[in-house]
């Protein structure tokens, strides 16, 4: 991580996380809808639809201060690791976990990196579509990470989270958000059934997440 002293580091992260949560509330009035799961400090992987850079801010604004401190968003290393400033924002201020989708060296293996975070007892925010969805489809096909993580650490709960309206608040290529009301719907945990195939599980998780959208016709 960084060369900052531990105390400054923690203060910076707390200040950023509180500041961003307040900002998220001012702009979007964000409100969690617990529809099948409840707030808990259990170790979890929150997996959500991904349309904007603001997604994980909205999701973590719905968590308690205590949960937020141990919950890390998984972000693309190709983008956030590109410059020192981006890396500082992603890793030091937002305490994200950076992974490279095109990796070569074994220490870059995304699954290993995410598992090492889980093994510290921390939680993850994961966007299984693998990239921001810029298409007209509501949700892209899932990549395998979710399945691999769940097989490796079956005790960690997988919570589907539908983030509403963010594609309208911050559309592609814009950086000024339009204030619109957003909700985050947290669904019931998904688990890999005994003997379930990778693709079958991923499709089922995909359907479960899509079904949480409270106003499907609105996401146009």
């Amino acid at each position: 991580m960084s060369k900052l002293s531990l105390k400054t580091f923690t203060m910076l992260q707390t200040a950023t996380s509180v500041g961003l949560s307040v900002l998220a509330w001012v702009v979007t009035g964000v409100r969690p809808i617990w529809n099948g799961s409840l707030p808990s400090d259990r170790q979890r992987i929150y997996f959500a639809n991904h349309t904007s850079h603001g997604d994980f801010i909205l999701l973590s604004a719905c968590l308690s201060e205590k949960e937020r401190a141990i919950t890390h968003a998984v972000a693309a290393g190709e983008y956030w690791g590109k410059s020192r400033l981006r890396r500082f924002i992603a890793e030091d201020m937002l305490s994200s976990v950076l992974i490279n989708r095109q990796w070569t060296r074994p220490e870059e293996n995304p699954i290993e990196i995410m598992l090492s975070v889980l093994d510290q007892g921390h939680s993850l925010i994961l966007f299984p579509e693998g990239t921001r969805n810029m298409t007209d489809q509501p949700l892209l096909a899932f990549r395998s990470g979710l399945y691999n993580l769940s097989m490796a650490r079956p005790q960690v709960e997988l919570i589907p989270c539908w983030i509403e309206n963010m594609s309208r608040v911050l559309p592609k290529g814009q950086f000024l958000p339009v204030p619109l009301l957003c909700r985050v719907v947290f669904g019931a945990p998904v688990t890999v059934a005994p003997g379930e195939e990778r693709r079958a599980f991923l499709d089922r998780a995909h359907t479960t997440l899509l079904a949480l959208n409270p106003r499907p016709e609105r996401d146009d």
């Binding site: 009035g29 309206n165 559309p171 592609k172 000024l176 339009v178 204030p179 619109l180 009301l181 146009d220």
Partner: protein, 311 residues
């Protein structure tokens, strides 16, 4: 004015305290678990406490407080309105302008009492320029629907709402320095009429007013609410430049407009397939659910006072 305000505040506190006590007794007697009506009633009363507290604080900050409070109310209402309607990616800059330019500019006009521009800025300039910007973006899909929704959003949540603090800019002879009381009068009779319509409707309501738009509105609620709110207006005439009879008439017109505002808001919600505008206030839904009647009443009340009572 100090004296009048004290009486108003004591009156409001007495009404709210009575309401809280009645609700507590009803809840204590009712079988557990409580019915959703009782839970909602308690939530509504609690929200009223918060709203009255906020209004009181804004009152003591005078013109600053009122202008800022209603600008924030416009922000919340506009956010709910735009969220509910169809927008496209190419509307981004128009939407940003609605929040970032139109709200601040309209309230600046209120603040500087620039009446001439205040009344035409949105209905003339924004009305023409917003669709022009949308057309320049070249996206014609559902064009009329999108620009109509944008127009309505700013008219309702910014233009109409801004007429409440604009009451402070009127020069009523013999009423100098007491204009805040006009705001208090308007809000108390219009919101009071909402509550009275609700109570009369719950107690006596039989004949639906408009089953297709709003099943909860009844003729009994409407008549009982309007008559009692007009009486309330007459009772409050001591804080206004009106005689008791004039106050009753003005209250009647304002509350009738308020009723129609609620009806229109219900029709919009029904059309968009939602029950509430948003989730800002526990038990009340969103900001627009609380202000729909005020929104329709404010401009009419403003112009009645301006036409008949200012020089």
């Amino acid at each position: 004015m100090r004296h009048d305000i004290s009486i108003l505040i004591i009156g409001l506190l007495a009404v709210l305290t009575t309401a809280s006590i009645v609700a507590a007794i009803l809840c204590a007697r009712a079988p557990k678990p409580l019915s959703s009506t009782l839970v909602n009633l308690t939530q509504r009363i609690n929200a009223w406490w918060v709203m009255v507290a906020l209004m009181t604080v804004a009152f003591f900050f005078g013109r600053y407080g009122m202008t800022i409070l209603f600008a924030l109310i416009s922000f919340a209402a506009l956010r709910e309105f735009v969220t509910l309607t169809h927008t496209s990616r190419s509307d981004h800059w128009v939407l940003l302008g609605m929040f970032g330019i139109i709200i601040p500019f309209q309230y600046w006009l209120v603040w500087t009492a620039w009446y001439g521009l205040f009344v035409i800025f949105i209905p003339v300039y924004c009305f023409l320029l917003m669709p022009a910007i949308t057309a320049l973006h070249g996206d014609t899909e559902r064009f009329l629907e999108r620009i109509a929704a944008q127009q309505w959003a700013v008219m309702i949540s910014v233009y109409c709402v801004s007429h409440v603090p604009a009451l402070l800019t009127l020069d009523v002879p013999g009423f100098e320095g007491r204009n805040l009381l006009l705001i208090a009068f308007l809000i108390i009779v219009v919101q009071g009429s909402d509550v009275l319509q609700y109570i009369f409707g719950k107690l006596l309501g039989k004949h639906r007013f408009s089953p297709t738009v709003s099943p909860s509105k009844t003729w009994e609620g409407l008549i009982g609410g309007l008559v009692s709110a007009s009486l309330l207006g007459a009772l409050l005439s001591f804080v206004t430049p009106f005689s008791p009879l004039q106050a009753a008439c003005v209250a009647f017109v304002a509350c009738s407009m308020g009723f129609l505002g609620g009806l229109v808001a219900s029709a919009i919600k029904r059309d968009q397939g939602v029950k509430d505008w948003g989730h800002l206030i526990e038990g009340h839904g969103g900001m627009m659910d609380r202000t729909d009647s005020l929104v329709f009443a404010a401009p009419i009340f403003f112009h009645i006072v301006r036409y008949f009572w200012t020089v």
